[in-house]
Symmetry: C2
């Protein structure tokens, strides 16, 4: 019985599960054997009730009156998130952002693993980044076919992002993480997640400006800790 019943887990929940997994890894290193939902929630920066709801998506995995077993919950999350083996990822565009991301492959058990890095710059091609040798982007089709990569990461300039995306899709990549500031057009059946670092800063700047405009806003809200959202977190006066 490989997968039990988690047929449809909300995307926001999946993102939080990954956070829980990281916290649990830290707790395991500290030698902890059990955790309560409250402690785990504060460490992850979420609401305890929400955490329990998230965990309920993969069936009962805690013991009432005691809490969650760190090791077993960690293993269960690892299995749910990453499956048995890590999925191979290809990264295109080994600039500063690209090489920083390549290092996130870090330790296994995360569900993904970089198997190839591609770039056009002759000065970068051939160099070693995160234990991999950078290959020329001209070999994209060959590399994807050999590694059977199903995930592509685009950290190229915006001008070439769409063409790189098209080539990735053409050779079978159906999951793409896009850091280029463009909206990629893809056929049905392809997942695209977009991360826009510039937009994140602009949003923060807007909130900062808005707060200055209203020194003491009408709502004296109080929040003790950060209240994370799918990918971003906010807390404080609005």
């Amino acid at each position: 019985m490989p997968e039990s019943r988690p047929r449809n887990i909300p995307e926001a929940t999946v993102a939080r599960l990954a956070v829980y997994l990281r916290v649990l890894a830290g707790l395991a290193d500290d030698g902890r054997s059990h955790v309560s939902s409250g402690e785990l929630a504060t460490a992850a920066g979420v609401n305890p009730a929400g955490l329990r709801k998230d965990l309920s998506h993969l069936g009962p995995c805690g013991v009432r009156g005691v809490g969650y077993s760190v090791a077993s919950l960690r293993d269960r999350l690892t299995e749910t998130l990453g499956g048995a083996r890590s999925r191979p990822c290809v990264l295109v565009g080994v600039g500063r952002l690209g090489s920083a991301l390549a290092d996130y492959s870090g330790f296994p058990g995360r569900g993904f693993e970089f198997v190839a890095l591609l770039d056009t710059d002759p000065a970068t091609v051939g160099s070693s980044v995160a234990g991999l040798t950078v290959a020329p982007v001209a070999e994209l089709e060959t590399v994807v076919a050999e590694t059977r990569a199903s995930i592509g990461v685009i950290t190229t300039p915006a001008e070439v992002a769409q063409s790189v995306c098209d080539r990735l899709v053409a050779v079978g990549v159906r999951s793409i993480l896009n850091f280029a500031p463009v909206a990629l057009a893809v056929p049905a059946g392809v997942d695209v997640r977009k991360v826009d670092l510039s937009v994140e800063l602009q949003v923060l700047a807007f909130l900062d400006q808005q707060r200055d405009s209203t020194p003491s806003a009408v709502e004296p809200n109080r929040v003790e800790r950060v209240r994370p959202l799918p990918s971003t977190a906010r807390a404080g006066v609005r």
Copy 2:
């Protein structure tokens, strides 16, 4: 009359406004004078109706039957998002990710501007990144006071992120963008946005795995183009 009435714009809308602004800048460079909501929406990767709703938050700014004036809408978005002047940002942790971000300061009119880069590594301190000289992190308090920075960006290792955050908050920074994989604890009145690159990849890996587990899922959904969300976009079979 500086600000008209946009007292409370949803955060998700603000993120999209930043995207629209970038698209408009490109259209202006191409010499376009007017755009329809449909064209702008496809370029930004959103729904036309949603785009109009987003724009409605800052009052009527289009002409019925014609569309939006590229230049005037761009100016209006610039004013709304960034205000009159760019807000000063301090970045702590000039690694690969940090230096990549520093370059995003790129051209002005984005609402933010890096005014200082800090790091602890003696090899990095003193070097020039994105036109700025990296200062030692020990001078954090002095630098923030001199530059009156109100936004802090944390691209340090996770171990020191909380202490850096505490120091930033102590000297008056009330908006923080956190790239370290930890949940920062901050007092009320401080905004924290978190970007977790590792989680993004894990979510993508999960979706990829889930799709493989269900070759032909129960729902034969069809989507022609990417359907973006606040910070991420997805499209395709689930």
